[in-house]
Symmetry: C2
Subunit: 349 residues, 2 copies
C-alpha cells in the first residue's frame, strides 16, 4: 500500500562505503557547541560540562518494523524518537546521536536518502547533532542501531530508583494509540494482499496511525517540569507498555503501586478502535507499548504544581513494596500487575 | 572445524529480553569512577572531566565474520577490539562500551555466554566498563553493534587532519598478518568441506591466525608515546589497509606522502605465507586490512625519541599535497597509492 514507486534506483555499490556516508550525511549541520568533531575521523569528540547520558537501541526489519506499511522517512524519524525518548526519561537534554545502518543490496540509494531525510528531520526538530555511525551491507533486510547522547546536571537526572511510597504516579499524553494504529495497519495489509487495488481510507484512524508511524519523543515534558519546578523522583519512558514500566519502577525503587484503571488517559480514537476490534482498551494501555510517553513519580507536595495540566495525568500512587503492584479496576477490584511487555524472544511474536 | 560440540542448548525464549541481559551481564564489574550508572535504567550515565570520544561499529555475520572458523569467545573479544582501536587512534583512554546484539533463534544461550565471555575478557584486559546495549532477535544470523567511549585532554586528541609536510609517517607493530590468517582459515574451511575428518595443523600459522581471530587494539601505543613525550600530529587506526588509511590522512591533512616499500614491517610468517599463497606481501600490507595497528605522523624533531623502539617503524614521510601519495618501491620507482581498502558494498566481496 505504501510501495515505493520511485523509478530511480541507484545501486549502493556505485558509491562505496565512504562515498555513501558522505552522501547521506552531507546536509546535517552541527548545532551544539559541545560537539567538537562529528563524522569524518576515527571517533567523534564532544565535551559535556554536565553529566552525560547515553542509550542505544536496535531496530530490525521484520522484528521491529514492517516496510510494507512503514514509509522509510517515517522509519528514520521513529528510530531517532525511540532513542531520544530514553534520554528524556533521564530528565536530560538530548544533544548528539550516532546512526549505524546495515542494508542488503535490495535497497537503492534513493531508499536510504528517504531514511536519512527522516533522521535529518528528527535531528532538526529535536535539536541533536548526528556525530557518527557505521554503514555496511547486511545479508538480509535493514537494521538500524542508534545511540543517543544527552546531558544533564547531576541533581536533575532521574533514575528509575527514586520513587517513594505515597509518591504520585504520573503519565504524559495518552496511551495505547500506537498499538491500535499497528492493528489498523496490519488489517489493511491483509486487505491489500487480497485486493491490491483497494485504497484504504485511514482518515478515521489518522491519530493512532500517526502515533505508530511517526511518534514524538516527549522533549517538552522535561522542559515543562522545569517550568513547573517539579523534579520527578523516578522516571521511565513507556516503550513496552504501562504495566511493564510500572513494574520496572517498582522493582528499581523497591516500592509497590496502585494504578487506577479509570485514570488511564485514552484518546477517543483508541476507545472506538478498541470497540471495533473488540479489544479491551485497558489491556491495550497496559501492554500495547510504543507510546513513548513518560511515566514518572512525584512527591505528593508537588501535586498542586501539575494539577490541571492537560499534558499530565495522575494515574496512581506508590505504596510500600510489601503491598505489591496492582491495578484498581473501575469495579474497585484489585488485580496484580504483570509484565505483558513486549518480549522479543518469544517465538509467537 | 571449530564446531560447537557443546550438547547443552538453552533456548533464548526461556529467559526473555530482560532476563537475558541480566544473565549475560551480571558478572561485569564497573571499574571507572566516571561510570555513574551502567545497565539497568533508560540510559547509562557517565561523567568525563575531559573531552569524550565516541565511535561505533557494526559486525555482521556473513559480512564481517564467519562462525565456521571464528569461535564465539574470540568474536566477542574482537568486536570490542575493533571499536577500542578507534578510541586509541584518537590518542584517548578507552573507558566505557555498549554492546548491542541481535541473534536469530538458532543460537542457544550457551553460545551467547561464550560471546559475552570474550566481551568480558576484553573489558577486563582493556579496563573498560560495559554500560549498556540492547538485545533482540534477528530474522537471520548474528549482528553486533558496539559503541566505544573514551576520554582525553583537549590538547592530546589526535585527529586525522594535523599532519604537515615533512612529518614522518610511523606505524606500530607489523602489517598484513590478519589478512593472511584469513586466507589460511578460508583454505582450511574448503578442506574441511571436502573432508570433515581432516584435522588441520595450524601451528605454523599460529601468529597470523591469532592476528585474525584475536587481534589486540594498541592501548599500549598511546601510553608509550606519552612516556616518550611524543604527540602525534595526526593518527588513524589500520582497519581497511595501510593504503586506504594513508589516503585518509593525506585527504584530511591536505598533504601528500611518500611510503617506502622496504620499510613496511612484515612478520616472517606473513612473508612465508605470502610465498606459499603466491601473493605479493606489499599488496597484502597495503590492502589487507584488519591489522588494528596505529598509523600516525610525528614532527621530524621527534624522530630521536622513537628511534630504535621495537614497537614503532618509520615507513615514510608526508609531502606537499601537490606531490600526491606514492609508494616508493624497492626498485625505487614511484607508484600512486590507491584505496584498495575493503569496500563492503562491492558485490564481489
Amino acid at each position: 500500500m505504501l510501495e515505493d514507486k520511485n523509478p530511480q534506483r541507484t545501486s549502493l555499490e556505485k558509491l562505496g562505503e565512504f562515498g555513501l556516508i558522505d552522501h547521506l550525511t552531507k546536509n546535517f549541520e552541527i548545532k551544539h557547541n559541545s560537539t567538537l568533531k562529528g563524522i569524518g575521523d576515527d571517533a567523534a569528540v564532544f565535551d559535556h560540562k554536565q553529566q552525560t547520558v547515553l542509550t542505544t537501541d536496535f531496530l530490525i526489519e521484520g522484528v521491529h518494523f514492517d516496510l510494507s506499511y512503514m514509509p522509510l522517512k517515517h522509519l528514520g524519524y521513529k528510530a531517532v524518537m525511540v532513542n531520544l525518548s530514553d534520554v528524556y526519561a533521564m530528565n536530560a537534554k538530548a544533544t548528539q546521536i550516532t546512526v549505524s545502518l546495515a542494508v542488503s543490496n535490495r535497497f537503492p540509494l534513493e531508499a536510504l536518502e528517504e531514511l536519512y531525510a527522516g533522521i535529518a528531520l528528527a535531528s532538526k526538530v529535536y535539536n541533536v547533532d548526528l556525530i557518527g555511525g557505521d554503514t555496511t551491507t547486511s545479508t538480509s533486510g535493514m537494521l538500524i542501531s542508534i545511540t543517543a547522547i544527552g546531558e544533564a546536571k547531576e541533581e536533575e537526572i532521574t533514575y528509575r530508583s527514586g520513587a517513594k511510597p505515597n509518591d504520585l504516579l504520573v503519565v504524559s499524553g495518552d496511551l495505547g494509540a500506537a498499538y491500535m494504529g499497528l492493528q489498523v495497519l496490519e488489517r489493511e495489509k491483509e486487505v491489500f494482499k487480497v485486493n491490491p487495488n483497494n485504497q484504504p481510507d485511514l482518515s478515521p484512524y489518522s491519530y493512532i496511525v500517526e502515533r505508530q508511524l511517526k511518534p514524538e519523543a516527549r522533549k517538552d515534558i522535561a522542559e515543562l517540569l522545569k517550568q513547573l519546578d517539579v523534579l520527578p523522583t523516578a522516571m521511565i519512558d513507556i516503550s513496552d507498555g504501562l504495566s511493564s514500566e510500572i513494574l520496572h519502577l517498582c522493582k528499581n525503587s523497591k516500592v509497590g503501586c496502585n494504578l487506577f484503571e479509570e485514570k488511564i488517559p485514552l484518546d477517543p480514537t483508541v476507545i472506538t478502535t478498541c470497540e471495533e476490534f473488540n479489544i479491551d482498551s485497558t489491556m491495550v494501555a497496559l501492554s500495547g507499548g510504543e507510546d513513548y510517553e513518560l511515566l514518572f513519580t512525584i512527591a505528593q507536595n508537588d501535586f498542586d504544581k501539575i494539577k490541571g495540566n492537560p499534558n499530565l495525568t495522575v494515574i496512581g500512587h506508590m505504596t510500600e513494596a510489601s503491598e505489591g503492584a496492582h491495578l484498581v479496576t473501575r469495579a474497585n477490584t484489585k488485580i496484580e500487575l504483570t509484565a505483558q511487555g513486549w518480549n522479543s524472544f518469544k517465538s509467537n511474536d
